[in-house]
């Protein structure tokens, strides 16, 4: 009967494992910021998310060519553009060359009567013409005379100037020898736009790889010339790669260390392999459940694979060491069950989080730990030999007992540590938390510096203030943009905002283009009015025949479409403001502060609402990101506290309040001291430290439970066996998490260092406080 049951369990386990592997092989792994974005965002948060994912910002790659000399860099820049220009992975490849510049200039000049916001019927009446031409002559006599002189014959009313006017005040990339170069002239810079949205990390990675290969294959390249890249996509691809390689490295090293430790204790290869079964099963089921539950697995969640080793390996350690004598006490399983339940309770709180990153971690941990525990309970006993030939742990057991007895006498130290911790935390309470989202980013300082430099080179200022809305189709989007422009223009004149951009500057709506065309007089009429207008001016109508011809062409030309901008720099700009989504269009109107740094957004909102433009959302991205992160932290704090509370309740219900207190106090102390130590080391806490603390509570409760379990304490020898298993488990935990703490990925190192310190303290404190000394028991 028992054997049949075991066989059934074995079959079930194998089936689950196979299923998990199948699921994992189909899983998509992502590494963007989505894990840190709320699941049910507000309108403003949604906008931020849209922008991070779909926005042109997410699709822009900044490229620099460094090394060699200027001429060589210029040559490479041109060759690179040539190589990438027809690659479908890019919608735009630019290095500022004259061709692109001319293409843009031509777009604006050739279509000036459709693009100029000043085109209205009265502008082309005789008095209107007189006034505008006089204005152009005045402009010619001024400092921009040379340029105005060039446009005069064909654009005497100065429409080109009207268009350029919208772009006045923009900073611009430096150029040398007709291509863009950095401010210091030491690198050539290029701007690429990816065709795939920010969501598709794989496609972005492939595109970036294309750039690298194209560069590597440029003929006659100097050996010391090199390619640097930055941008959101580069950073997310890089962080995914870092996370992947780190996860691999840490998993391998962590496993090796734990294996070495276990070999030292078990001295048996079969036992060691058996001991790893729960861990591996847990990790597989964990990843598979996240994949099934969320549709994808975030790289960071995967990073916690190693964290699972830390706790899951404990189960088999407890089992093997405590059962080395061949006994199978039922209270062992009871304590184990309680330990697993407390951990699962803690993580269940995370699962409720509205942030996918946290809930993924919760689901991963719960399913992983439950699997590991079930495998330890139902699979391992059937697989392990009847007689465990463990190394004789009698002597180390005695030594350990002495040490632990000593620790019990040092209970007062715990009070001192607690007081010190509280003092540190009270003194530093202002800067315990790091409120920046990028504290979690796995990019290096060097990468961030490069990003800032390249953005600076391309004249970029970060888009902080944005007005945004979505519309069902392109024409509605453009018309709404035109209506918003009227309001924004007024705000700009009132100096509430310093300026703005709108997609209709580059592509007016069809209705507006038609209206502008209708403002233009017929050829005969235009000539008549021009002659009238030029009376008393130093200019003859005959000299402006180009103007009349252009006017007629504009009056009858086909209207501008999105593809009219194809291949120009303006198209990249348009893409950043008019974003096509699956079933709608997202419009982003960047706003510039008038003076100083900030915009009074309430005034902007009120002005828009007054014109029935309430659907236009105005946000401060900086504030919004900080707010998201704040709510993220608050939520994590809330759920960690709820989780800890649930653990307490569980302990209280299952072993009475006395025992619950015995178990809780050392855990609480360990948590507080860990925070104080991190704080004293100058580390600001992030949400991941919180998660680490929850892990400390989850893992540490096992130690305390075993230490405090009276029924467990049969003979002295048995107690020593239990204590040895605790120390070995703790060593395994501290080793694997300590290793994680050394990771270069902040997310992993935060959790690693927190748990390593916390678990060690939890063991020591539990020994001091929860442990029932042998002498306390009746012999």
């Amino acid at each position: 009967m028992k054997i049949r049951l075991h066989k059934l369990a074995l079959c079930l386990w194998l089936a689950v494992m196979l299923g998990s592997v199948l699921v994992i092989s189909q899983t998509r792994f992502v590494a963007d910021l989505s894990a840190f974005m709320p699941k049910l965002p507000s309108a403003r948060q949604q906008m931020l998310i849209d922008q991070l994912r779909d926005g042109a910002i997410a699709r822009i790659v900044l490229v620099g060519i460094e090394g060699a000399d200027e001429a060589e860099r210029g040559r490479l820049s041109r060759l690179l553009v040539g190589k990438l220009a027809h690659n479908p992975r890019f919608t735009s490849v630019q290095n500022g060359d004259r061709q692109t510049q001319q293409r843009d200039q031509r777009y604006f000049f050739d279509n000036r009567y459709l693009l100029s916001p000043a085109v209205m019927p009265q502008r082309f009446s005789a008095p209107g013409l007189h006034e505008t031409i006089q204005g152009t002559l005045d402009a010619m006599s001024g400092d921009a005379g040379l340029i105005v002189k060039k446009i005069l014959p064909r654009d005497p009313t100065g429409e080109t100037l009207q268009i350029l006017d919208q772009f006045i005040g923009e900073s611009q990339p430096a150029s040398s020898d007709d291509i863009w170069v950095s401010r210091d002239g030491k690198r050539a810079v290029l701007l690429l736009q990816l065709s795939e949205s920010g969501l598709n990390t794989d496609a972005q990675a492939a595109a970036l790889e294309d750039v690298k290969q194209a560069f590597a294959s440029l003929p006659g390249r100097h050996a010391d010339s090199r390619l640097v890249m930055s941008g959101t996509s580069v950073i997310s691809v890089a962080s995914r790669n870092i996370i992947q390689s780190e996860v691999e490295r840490l998993a391998i090293m962590g496993s090796l260390l734990v294996v070495a430790l276990l070999l030292l204790v078990y001295r048996s290869l079969p036992l060691l392999l058996l001991g790893l079964i729960p861990v591996v099963s847990g990790a597989l089921v964990g990843i598979a459940s996240v994949s099934l539950g969320f549709g994808h697995v975030h790289g960071l969640t995967l990073g916690f694979g190693t964290t699972l080793i830390g706790e899951a390996v404990d189960y088999s350690i407890y089992l093997f060491i405590q059962r080395a004598g061949g006994k199978n006490p039922s209270h062992f399983w009871r304590t184990m069950r309680l330990g697993v339940l407390t951990s699962a309770t803690g993580f269940a709180a995370l699962m409720c989080s509205s942030f996918p990153g946290l809930s993924q971690l919760g689901l991963y941990s719960i399913s992983g730990l439950l699997t590991a525990a079930l495998v330890t309970r139902y699979i391992l006993p059937g697989l392990m030999p009847q007689q465990l030939n463990l190394r004789d742990l009698h002597r180390p057991g005695l030594l350990l007992q002495k040490i632990l007895d000593g620790l019990t006498r040092l209970r007062w130290l715990m009070a001192v540590a607690l007081l010190a911790a509280v003092a540190v935390l009270v003194l530093h309470q202002q800067d315990i938390w790091n409120r920046q989202l990028n504290a979690l980013s796995s990019t290096s300082a060097a990468q961030n510096k490069l990003d800032a430099e390249l953005r600076g080179d391309l004249g970029g200022n970060d888009m902080r203030y944005v007005a945004s809305f979505s519309a069902p189709d392109q024409q509605t989007a453009l018309q709404l943009a035109e209506r918003s422009r009227v309001v924004l223009q007024q705000l700009s004149q009132q100096n509430i905002i310093g300026g703005f951009h709108s997609p209709d500057e580059l592509l007016p709506s069809i209705a507006t283009q038609r209206a502008r065309q209708a403002s233009l007089p017929t050829p005969a009429e235009a000539e008549r009015r021009l002659r009238l207008a030029l009376q008393g001016m130093p200019l003859e109508a005959d000299q402006l025949s180009g103007f009349l011809a252009d006017l007629e062409r504009a009056r009858t030309q086909p209207l501008l479409q999105r593809q009219s901008l194809q291949g120009s720099a303006a198209s990249v700009l348009l893409d950043s403001m008019l974003i096509r989504r699956a079933d709608s269009y997202l419009v982003l109107l960047p706003l510039k502060p008038a003076s100083g740094e900030t915009i009074a957004l309430d005034k902007v909102r009120a002005a828009l609402a007054a014109q029935q433009l309430g659907q236009v959302t105005v946000i401060d991205l900086l504030e919004e990101t900080t707010a998201i992160f704040d709510s993220y932290t608050h939520e994590a704090l809330l759920f960690s506290s709820l989780g800890s509370l649930a653990i307490l309740l569980l302990l209280w219900v299952s072993c009475g309040w006395r025992q619950a207190v015995r178990v809780t106090i050392p855990l609480g102390c360990a948590v507080l001291c860990t925070v104080a130590i991190l704080d004293a080391c100058g580390i600001q806490l992030t949400i991941l430290h919180l998660v680490g603390l929850l892990l400390v509570v989850a893992i540490g409760s096992n130690y305390a439970l075993f230490f405090a379990n009276k029924q467990q304490l049969g003979s002295d020898a048995e107690q020593r066996q239990v204590e040895i298993s605790l120390v070995v488990a703790n060593l395994a935990t501290v080793t694997s998490f300590g290793l994680l703490g050394s990771s270069s990925v902040p997310v992993l190192s935060f959790i690693g260092s927190t748990v390593a310190i916390g678990a060690l303290l939890a063991l020591v404190f539990a020994a001091m406080m929860a442990r029932i000394g042998p002498r306390a028991l009746p012999r």
Binding site: A56, I60, L62, Q94, G96, Q101, D104, Q105, F108, L137, D138, A139, M140, S141, G142, D143, A144, G145, L146, I147, K149, K150, L152, P153, L164, F167, I168, G169, E170, S171, Q172, P173, A174, S175, S176, R183, L191, R455, L458, G459, G460, M463, H501, P538, L539, E540, Q543, A569, A570, V572, L573, S576, P590
Partner: protein, 195 residues
């Protein structure tokens, strides 16, 4: 970086005509430069005439100039349309009548640099800055000298064929820009103060 690409289009707009005030001279270029370099500040009024083939009459503008050694130069046009150009160090700022400003970093735009240095380097007596962009020929005597500057950069030559600066002693009296297409502008300077 968004819009910045766009603003490349503006590039051409920046070929601005800056102009100068007054100071000293002698017959060798070194002496002229040395004398000009001694003046530390000055203000002047200017009248500029642009002779353009397309137009029957020259376009006239007028305003004020101010120079402070070593590198600040300000040109305020009052008529026909108020506007201002301030050159300070490497930064050129254009102020328009509606109060909007735009600035250019000269280091980014060698051709604009060349343009403004013709005046500023002359006024501050900075011979090396001048000779970076022009071949300079001095004629006349210290009473009445003329400095002919011919651009060295091909890009500059496409726009300006020659710049003629004339004066007496440490005083710049006229600055003439001869454009490659035959048009020219002539600025007459009347000093109002100088140190």
């Amino acid at each position: 970086m968004r819009v910045t690409i766009m603003s490349k289009t503006l590039g051409g707009l920046l070929l601005l005509l800056a102009a100068g005030c007054s100071q000293a001279a002698d017959w060798s270029l070194a002496d002229l430069m040395q004398q000009l370099g001694q003046k530390k500040a000055g203000t002047a009024t200017f009248v500029e005439k642009k002779y353009i083939a397309m137009l029957k009459q020259p376009l006239e503008s007028s305003g004020e100039l101010a120079f402070t050694a070593p590198d600040r130069l300000e040109k305020r046009t009052l008529k026909p349309k108020p506007e201002g150009v301030v050159l300070e160090g490497n930064k050129l700022t254009l102020e328009r009548s509606d109060g909007r400003k735009m600035s250019v970093n000269l280091a980014d735009r060698p051709e604009v640099s060349a343009f403004v240095e013709s005046v500023r380097a002359t006024l501050s007596g900075d011979r090396s800055a001048l000779e970076r962009y022009y071949s300079a020929a001095l004629s006349g005597g210290s009473e009445q000298w003329q400095l002919n500057l011919t651009p060295l950069q091909p890009r500059m030559q496409k726009v300006i064929s020659q710049i003629r600066i004339a004066g007496g002693h440490a005083q710049v009296r006229t600055i003439e820009f001869l454009q490659a297409d035959g048009d020219r502008s002539e600025m007459t300077i009347t000093s109002t103060s100088g140190k």
